[in-house]
Symmetry: C2
Subunit: 246 residues, 2 copies
């Protein structure tokens, strides 16, 4: 077991979408803020790692399970734990609870260390994970399988200034918005996301033309995000119809 760290958060207006629920991209962003606060408290903040090693943490995969998305003005508790690591990958879990202690969302994130200058993945440095008390486990987690389906809809978009973050690439949470934006308003208003798997294979940089493709197959939407460089991201979302809930 890694060290547990918890912080409360109250869902602001700007964190929510039209349905008064938190934007998943915002929840992910704020979860990463909480793990950043844990790292800072342990003396291994993102800034310190960058200054001392020239390394940045980047996300390669998310697996997300949603029982219920937090709502406007709701206070939630975000708990995080660096669960385990191996030579290349660090696995961190985030658990989101409501005020009654009910589990609302779990996010399993896979991180790697990237050399900021060369953009190459580097082996995990023991000294950067030891303070979290994560367990070393030689095996890698088996990621989701992304079937290759013909797209039923495609959109092209330009990467804009505010898609980027200070790591010099499109921020991982922006892709989450793009996944949702691949679907119609009618679909988004009639469904709730229950499970999401995302795999980030290639960075996307400023000026890129991005094609988001989606294939809807029953309750599951299959997504690819690609640029001229090839497929950058694959994702799957399992949806639940809102009408089934009542």
């Amino acid at each position: 077991m890694g060290k547990l760290f918890r912080q409360d958060y109250t869902v602001t207006f700007y964190a929510t979408d039209m349905s008064q629920q938190i934007k998943l991209s915002h929840l992910i962003n704020h979860a990463l803020f909480v793990s950043g606060a844990q790292a800072y408290g342990l003396g291994i903040s993102d800034q310190a790692i960058f200054e001392e090693h020239g390394l940045v943490w980047i996300v390669t995969d998310y697996e997300i399970e949603i029982k219920r998305l937090p709502r406007f003005l709701e206070t939630i508790t975000i708990e995080t734990e660096a669960v385990s690591y191996n030579k290349l990958f660090c696995y961190r879990e985030f658990r989101v609870f409501d005020q009654a202690g009910q589990l609302l969302v779990t996010i399993l994130a896979t991180f790697v260390l990237m050399d900021y200058a060369t953009r190459r993945v580097r082996p995990v440095l023991e000294e950067l994970v030891a303070p979290f008390e994560a367990v070393y486990s030689k095996s890698s987690r088996r990621g989701a399988k992304y079937p290759d389906l013909p797209a039923t809809s495609e959109q092209v978009r330009q990467v804009t200034y505010f898609d980027m973050d200070m790591n010099g690439h499109v921020n991982n949470s922006r892709y989450i918005d793009w996944l949702f934006d691949s679907l119609t308003l009618d679909f988004l208003q009639a469904h709730l996301p229950k499970k999401i798997a995302v795999k980030y294979a290639k960075e996307i940089h400023y000026g890129a033309e991005v094609t988001t493709a989606v294939a809807l197959d029953g309750r599951i939407s299959h997504h690819t995000i690609r640029t001229a460089e090839g497929i950058c991201t694959q994702a799957m979302i399992e949806w639940e119809s809102k009408t089934e809930l009542y």
Copy 2:
């Protein structure tokens, strides 16, 4: 003088852009969160106003002055004051200070009450402003003058799901991102915004095709945002070259 209300805020990773400065759209969003907190404390929250009157506060104008934008991990104090109001308009000021008490940013926002169902502006209700101790002043503020210049560059974009807010239209802060995105990366990296004036004339809804046009005239960029319905927003930004600062 209206009642003063203050809250501290520490600039998160996801609030910043590539330059490690706060996104202006995020600063505006968080400033509105602070005035929302003041309203909540006075028993006239946005929710209460909507439930009791079917009204929502919407922004019609911003005038922003920037001495310096807050940086990643910097703690700032956001102070807000409902300065004055007349039959239709409420004027609220936000002042952003650093930890040494230096004024970094001022935002003057003009609000009106909109009937959520009819989308029509409604006269200010005395009971909704009295708790702020704002001063009644018959005259309206003279807004900025927006000259009509031929655009030097135009972009077309689709309104997406996450551009919208729970008021059922594109959130006012998204336009701010669009203004910046109308300019090139080279320009944004070489300049700092010093003064911004924005006038919101028409709402933009889901599905609209939006054209953002910009004319760069010396230190000032002139912007229009329009849809098939006509001009929705006009804006001006005065820039300072970063090289002049050193």
